[in-house]
Structures are given as C-alpha cells and as structure tokens.
Symmetry: C2
Subunit: 375 residues, 2 copies
C-alpha cells in the first residue's frame, strides 16, 4: 500500500516462462490480457481506424495523448462529452500518457515547477506541471494515467540523465499528492509512475527504487527507444525490471517493434505501446510473418495473393497485394485504413502467439522466429 | 431487339406514381432495386470506403471510371486480377463509364476517329475511340458498360451541341459493332447508349431517337448537370425520357443531389451516380433530413448529438457531432470514412424512401420534403 492508498488495478499472473509472464490486468472497468499491445490513438483516434475497427480487431487498451487532447479539443470538452470513453465511443480500456514525451520533443523551458512550451497547433504558450498533468488526465478520464516525467533523448550527457531521474522522482511525488484526493473520494483511475535513467543500469535501478517507494498502481519504463541501440536498451530495461514489484503491471513505453516487443516480454514486461505498426501501414510497409513488405514495390503490381498468406485478418481474406498496392499508388485514402487494420491485427496476433507460447513454456521458439525475419 | 441481339438486362417495373417508377433490374449477375443510386468508385474504390463498407451500406451498384483505370493500374492488370469484381473484392454490380466525360474535361484533340488526350498521371498521350472504350470496358468487366460519347459543357454554342449529337450517334453505332462479337459469343456484359443534346429539347429528342434506333440494353442521359441551371436541366431530361422505351433502364449520368435525384425519379429515371455525397463528406458537409450541415462550424464543438437525429447509420449510432468535428479539425483520416459512410447511407435511404413512396403513390410528399430543405 503506497501513497495513493489501495491499488485500483491488479495483475493476475497465469503463466510464466523464465522472466516472461502472461496474465490479466483487472481494473474498475473490467480486465485485459497481458502481454498487451496498446494501439496509439493520439488524438482520441488510432489514425485511419474507428473505435468499431479496434473492437473488431480485438484491441483491449488504446493509448491517447494528453498533449494533443489538452490542446485540441481541450480536456474540458472531452470531459463534458463523457470523458475519453464517451467521446471516442469506446468501451475498452484507455491509457493516457502525461504529455511529457511530446512536450520534451518541443524543446520546452523546464524548471522544477514544470515545462513551458508552445502549442504546435497555434503557437500559444502552455505550462505542464506534475499537478496539471494529473488534472488534465482526470478530465480525460482514462482508466490509467501516467505521471509527468522528464524524458531526455539518447545519447545525453550523464548529468542530463541524472537530472531527469531527480526531477522525475520529485514530480512523481507531487503527482501522487495531486491524485490522492480523487482516490480518497473513491475514484478508480489508476496512476502509473515512470522509471527513467537512460542506459545507465545503476541509475535505472535507483530510479526504479525511488518510483516504487512512492507506491503506484503500476510502473512505466520510459526514456528507452529514444535513439539508443537495442544492445543498450535491454540491459537498462533489465536493471529497471529487477526493482519492480511482481504484483504490479510493467509497461515499456513507446516500444512495439516485433523484436523489441518479444525481447521485452522475455524480460518480464506486460504492456506496450508503439506507433510503429500504424505509421508503417500508412507508408505502405506491411508486417508479415516473413518480415517487412514494401507494398510500393513494382513486384506486387500483379500479385493476386494476400499481404501475408498466414494472416487471418479481414484485409488478407478479401483483397490482393495488387489491389492494395493500386490504392496506395493512386493515393486512395481507404488504403490507409486497410493497411493499418492488417498491421494492427498482425501485431495483436503476435502478442497472442507470445501469450500462448508463455503458457506452453515455448517462448524461445517465438523469439527465434521473430529474430530470424525482423531487424 | 437491336444491334446487339437480345438485351442482357431487363427491368421489371413493380410500381409507378405518375411517370416515376420503382422496380428491379435483372442482369446475368443478379438483380438490384430501382430507383438506384450508384456510389462513384473512381479508381476501383469509393473514396475512403472499402467494398466491405459498401456491402454493409446496402449499396447494390458501384460506378468505376474507365479513364482512371485504363491509366492506373491499366485495364489488362484489372482483367488479369479477376476484372473489377475480383480486383475490388466486390460481388455487387459494377457499371463503368466510357472515360469520355473525364477525357473531354482535359480539352482533348477530337476528330471523327476519337479523342487524343494527355494522361493526368504522367503526361503520356493516349487515344480513346468508340472501339477502344468498348475493349477497355470489356477488360474491366463491369456488368454494364457505357458507349463513348461527346459531352460538351454548358453553355456551349448550338453548333457544338449539334456536332456532339452527331458524333455521339456515329460513335454509338461503332460501339455496337465493336461490342457485338462478344455478345454473339455469349457475353453478358450490357452496353448502354447515351443521349446528348444540351438543353435543346428538340435535339434531345432527336438524339434519343437515334440512340434508341441502335438497340441498346439501356440508356444514359448524359451532358446534363454540367453547368446549366436546374430549370433548363429538367425540360431537356423530359424531352429525352419521352423517347426512351419503357422496358429499358434509364440512367441520368452525374446527377445525385437530393433535389435533382427526386425530381428526376418523378420524371421516370431509374439510375443515378454522383460524387456529391462522397465529396461533400470529405469536406465536412453532412447530408441530413434538415438540410446540409457544415461540421466545421464551431456550434458543433460540444454537441453530443448525432450528425442526423433521424439517421440509422452506424456513425450516427455511435459518435457525436463533437467527436466527428474534432476528428475533422485535427485532420484524422478516419473522419473521411465516417462522414462518407453517413452521407452514402443517407442518400441510399433517401432513395429507399422514394421507392416506398412510389409504391404508396405518395412521391409528391417526399419531393416536397426534400425541396423544403435542399437548394
């Protein structure tokens, strides 16, 4: 029991394979299976998809971006329209980030109080503080909110990474204080802390310990997949995971490429989000069991076969590579959705295979298969 | 029985109200109800929709554009991939235009042989002849193909309209000759002639008589809604319809605004196509029972209600004006599809209401309702 009182989420681990675990996260809304890939719905919509599409795909959790939604349409508008679930017409789970990641990409003025930044929509000036991030996310009403953290890109000088750890810890404590009243009033919105520390294993461990000491509902590992090579990412991830309590969900933020996902699961991560599957789709890059496929290649112009012969998605069941490539080449907007449907289905099915493999004690096989075709 | 042998389509008129008629068109593929609005699938796709969407909407016939498809991906590619039905993954009916309308908008060099034009894709030079249009449309494999006609914009000098009628008649005869062998070989692809004549009732009647004399499976009325006011369109339409045989389908090309559609049905038209509902949707203009709605208007920013309170579409059932406006303002591609789904549903339901009203001898009421809210 931590600074927020009793946790409002619970993870039941149902199977494990080494450090990898498969289970269910239970919340006030219901539950979802883990490992879990969360499609990114930046502006309260996964690009090119509707919430009906997400339902049909079997997605269980969608991530939405606080930065974008606080500026457009505004958190108060979202709250008035039934919070994110009502606004989006989505009964599944929603997780919101704190806005920090986007704000720090805008080169903000940062001090102990918070981060001052200019809106990419209209140039207006805004301040994001740990308390403000909690308040905005309460208005957005996601099932899980994240604390405001300081996320340096990598590589960064050691003193920058150290300061990010310090400020993240101080802001995390303020976020707990800011969120506590709503929890004491019976609120069921979860708050996750975030571990920083760059690729320094010692700093990662320290950041994890200090975050855990504050008693969050779950833990994000942030500040990875921000420029560092994978051989530096994984040890940093391991150092953080070693300090996290097994009875809390663990979320690796911003990672969702096939190899990164599978390798992180193998080390004990439960939750993932990543724009990769959706962004790749919009550029005509298709995820398949044989690796990435560039749909623009002329070799597909007369190919009557599906995007991936082993895929069970509605797109592969109905349309050929030739047709989808045609739509892409003549810039028909429908192809954005069809390619996205396929890629999200593909990554969700990969996660499902990973879950089954953990149950079968066979995760090594899936890791080897993915590593053989993905960089 | 005309130059093509026995017709391969039949219209069964099941109800009438004045000149208006409701029935079914029967083809080798199956049948579809009339009056019928055909969504425009320019490049073998209705913009922002998939063929699964069209199925769910209950669309029965889709129009595809010969001009675009002969250039991208090429008629031979479409043929190789199962013609338009196989290529699009669409089991419903398809009608292809002849390409003439697009070609004539490119200011082509026209002589008795055909029209020479430059591709808008890569500037390459192409020639479209009556025989070539038949051949390309055979490769595309639509259920119904249209003859190559000459379509002047309005207003045009009388001699231009006269020459268009002459050349359209000569080209129609050549199209019949070009298509006859495939029909004699048992082919079931229908060929429709096209009536021209601008807004000159005498010329319209003459063009209709000369087209009918060639014995087509059905008749298009072309060259209307190309710049002339509605009070000039309707008499020209009536003059053409008066000459068309009642046992053949009648297709008013390029008209599909609510008033134009209802008024043309009242005069005996069976088939329509128009980009209006889909194009309006992509610009955020929504068709409703209370008239057009501009979704960009700030008044909708916090509106929890559906696009149209009387609408039964999947979009109105799930999402608010506020959410859809948000998607539009932040340029989420999904809103193109959602607004298009609504507008196509709305126009298809209008046609359904018109069909029912004809059966009830009550079309005047629908005409009055539509005229009260649409320009």
């Amino acid at each position: 029991m931590g600074g927020l009182g009793d946790p409002v989420v619970r993870i039941d681990v149902e199977a494990s394979d080494g450090a990898a675990r498969a289970g269910r996260v239970h919340t006030a809304r219901g539950s979802f299976a883990t490992p879990c890939f969360m499609p990114v719905g930046t502006r309260a919509a996964v690009r090119a998809l509707s919430s009906a599409d997400l339902e049909a795909l079997g997605a269980e959790v969608v991530l939405a971006n606080t930065y974008h939604l606080m500026l457009r349409p505004g958190a108060d508008v979202v709250a008035e329209l039934g919070h994110l679930h009502g606004f989006m017409g989505w009964d599944g789970h929603v997780l919101t980030d704190s806005g920090g990641y986007q704000v720090f990409s805008l080169d903000p003025k940062v001090d102990d109080h918070g981060a001052t930044f200019r809106s990419t929509y209209d140039g207006s000036t805004h301040v994001l503080t740990p308390e403000g991030a909690v308040r905005v996310q309460q208005l957005l009403g996601a099932d899980i909110q994240m604390v405001l953290d300081v996320c340096p890109s990598l590589p960064s000088p050691p003193e920058v990474v150290r300061q990010a750890v310090e400020r993240t810890a101080a802001w995390a404590a303020r976020a707990v204080e800011a969120h506590r009243p709503s929890r004491e009033a019976g609120g069921t919105q979860a708050l996750f802390g975030i571990v920083q520390g760059g690729v320094d294993a010692t700093l990662r461990a320290e950041s994890a310990q200090r975050t855990v000491a504050l008693g969050f509902d779950g833990y994000g590992i942030g500040g990875l997949s921000v420029g560092e090579p994978r051989h530096e990412l994984l040890p940093a991830l391991e150092a953080a995971l070693a300090e996290l309590p097994p009875d809390r969900p663990r979320y690796l933020m911003g990672v969702g490429d096939p190899v990164g996902l599978v390798e992180a699961v193998a080390r004990g991560v439960d939750l993932f989000d990543c724009v990769l599957p959706t962004r790749l789709a919009r550029h005509g890059t298709i995820l398949t069991g044989a690796g990435r496929l560039n749909l623009r290649n002329a070799v597909h112009a007369r190919d009557p076969g599906p995007l991936d012969p082993d895929c069970t998605c509605t797109v592969c069941a109905r349309w050929s590579r030739a047709y989808l490539r045609h739509l892409l080449m003549v810039q028909e907007p429908s192809v954005l959705r069809l390619a996205t449907l396929h890629n999200v289905h593909w990554i969700l099915r990969l996660v499902e295979r990973v879950r089954c493999a953990i149950g079968d004690g066979d995760l090594a096989r899936v890791r080897a298969e993915v590593a053989a075709v993905y960089p």
